[in-house]
């Protein structure tokens, strides 16, 4: 299916080196629309909404930022550490600039980790974009209920 110039430009901004070093699509060969649709279906199947997920992630990110780099206990058995970085990074949809820096969420019981950034949280909230498979900051919808203590199946 031919892509509009806008979608083409969007895809180009998601490539490595355009906005972030690794890009937002990882090694995913699927079209952007397919990635969005598949993840949207997965989230719906978990009984969640994008906004719910983004709100919870946003809470965790804010708590981690307040701890200025020290581990923050955001829930029972859930720790978040903020790693700061100077500068702002634009959203590929050109709807805002977001602080750089990552938050590493660790489930202290299993050792599982999840990475997110203010930008990745925004993209979930505003566009339902969890990033392509293989992207450094991809969040697999299936991991969310466990990792974030969200209600889910």
């Amino acid at each position: 299916m031919k892509e509009m110039p806008a979608e083409d430009a969007l895809r180009r901004k998601m490539q490595p080196g355009a906005i972030s070093g690794g890009g937002f699509l990882g090694s995913d060969a699927r079209s952007l629309q397919e990635i969005l649709d598949t993840d949207a279906a997965a989230i719906a199947a978990l009984g969640l909404t994008h906004l719910q997920v983004a709100e919870r992630l946003g809470e965790i990110v804010r708590a981690a930022m307040a701890a200025q780099g020290a581990p923050a206990e955001v829930a029972a058995g859930l720790q978040a550490v903020y790693c700061e970085a100077r500068g702002r990074v634009p959203c590929p949809w050109s709807d805002g600039m977001f602080e750089k820096g990552q938050v590493e969420i660790t489930d202290t019981r299993t050792g599982e980790t999840l990475l997110c950034t203010p930008l990745s949280v925004h993209m979930i909230a505003a566009h339902g974009f969890y990033q392509g498979r293989g992207s450094h900051y991809r969040i697999e919808p299936g991991r969310l209920p466990r990792m974030l203590a969200l209600p889910g199946e």
Partner: protein, 367 residues
């Protein structure tokens, strides 16, 4: 037989005609001739080849409008007020500008094509900004994720700056289409070391610039940068100072401190350096030594989450908590901050509680 020849000749003729037509059209239609850029009501006028973006035309002529994304239309750093000649707003500009900015004729200069004469307005400080080419003299590890980059300038050989200012490092294309962006770093060397530029760089996961610095850059490599930029600097007053920074935020203070020592500026100051654990501390010995030698300088490193093996007996807690414990009355003090927006907001809060007013708080917000 003759049919084949005619057919082939026909296809060649038609394709050839159109190809020629397109080449001619490109020569005349896409050629905008030379255009004049009038800056700040003829403070400076440039004659440039039309058809390029305003940003690249200006940079080619030595006027370094800030940019982070290198002209891709994403970072919105390159805003310039264009009084006349920019043409209608491009679809890529609209989402990056506010209503007020659009009304004020502010444009994203990397998305504005110079097709005719333009009249622009830029802050006069930008004229002082130059592009420097240098070589990497040293690249040493300060911590597990922080490096000190020391560049020896080649052309021009010296940089004139105020301690606290920053430069924009040019990241070339590397490793498969990445790069050609600019990233800002505060200078950590004092202005007396005019032939060098020293910066403290922290590794950003997936960062375009820091991946280049940490994985690809070698001593002896050529690098380019523009500068100096920034308003962060010591005030003129003799008031006592509180400095708060962590990680790579130390850079401007390292420059300011050494400048103060060289110029015998004996303003009382206390430097609160926040880190998570002992492995994140650096330049501790040098700063500790200076604190002992100088009666006006106090150094307070603090760890917010020391590891057991650190055996840390120094200050503990968030740097903002440590500051709150140490300061009593800040009525005649000034605050200097460098770090992430979150840390700065928390620090400003603490300084307010110690009666330091906004007009006496200066910061280089990492934004």
């Amino acid at each position: 037989m003759i049919a084949i020849l005619i057919a082939t000749a026909l296809v060649f003729a038609i394709s050839g005609t159109f190809a020629a037509l397109l080449l001619v059209a490109e020569r005349y239609l896409v050629n905008y001739g030379r255009c004049e850029i009038d800056i700040n009501a003829s403070q400076r006028t440039l004659s440039v080849k039309g058809g390029e973006s305003l940003l690249s035309s200006l940079m080619a002529e030595g006027v370094f409008v800030p940019s982070a994304c290198g002209g891709r239309g994403t970072c919105a750093y390159c805003k310039v007020k264009v009084a006349a000649g920019a043409g209608p707003l491009a679809p890529t500009e609209a989402p990056l500008l506010s209503e007020d900015e659009i009304r004020d004729n502010v444009r994203i200069s990397c998305q504005v094509k110079v097709r005719n004469d333009v009249r622009i307005e830029i802050p006069p400080e930008l004229f002082a900004i130059k592009r420097f080419v240098g070589t990497v003299e040293a690249l040493r590890d300060l911590t597990h994720d922080i490096k000190e980059l020391r560049i020896a300038l080649v052309d021009p050989p010296e940089i004139d700056f105020v301690p606290g200012q920053y430069i924009q490092l040019e990241v070339p294309s590397y490793g498969g289409g990445r790069g050609e962006v600019y990233r800002a770093y505060s200078m950590s060397n004092p202005p007396s070391e005019a032939r060098h530029v020293e910066t403290i760089i922290r590794l950003v996961p997936e960062g375009i610039c820091t991946t280049w610095v940490f994985q690809h850059l070698r001593v002896g490599d050529a690098v380019a940068l523009t500068g100096p930029y920034g308003e962060f600097r010591l005030s003129d007053s003799p008031r006592e100072m509180v400095w708060i920074a962590g990680g790579s935020g130390m850079a401007p203070f390292w420059s300011i401190l050494r400048h103060m020592i060289e110029n015998d500026i004996r303003r009382k100051c206390t430097y609160f350096f926040g880190a998570v654990a002992k492995r994140d501390l650096f330049l501790i010995d040098e700063l500790g030594r200076l604190a002992e030698e100088l009666d006006w300088f106090t150094f307070v490193p603090a760890l917010s989450s020391p590891a057991a093996e650190d055996n840390w007996d120094g200050e503990q807690g968030l740097i903002t908590e440590v500051v709150a414990r140490h300061l009593s009355d800040g009525a005649e003090m000034e605050g200097y901050l460098c770090g992430s927006p979150g840390m700065i907001d928390a620090a400003i809060d603490v300084l307010h509680k110690k009666s330091i007013t906004d007009n006496r708080i200066f910061y280089d917000k990492f934004a």
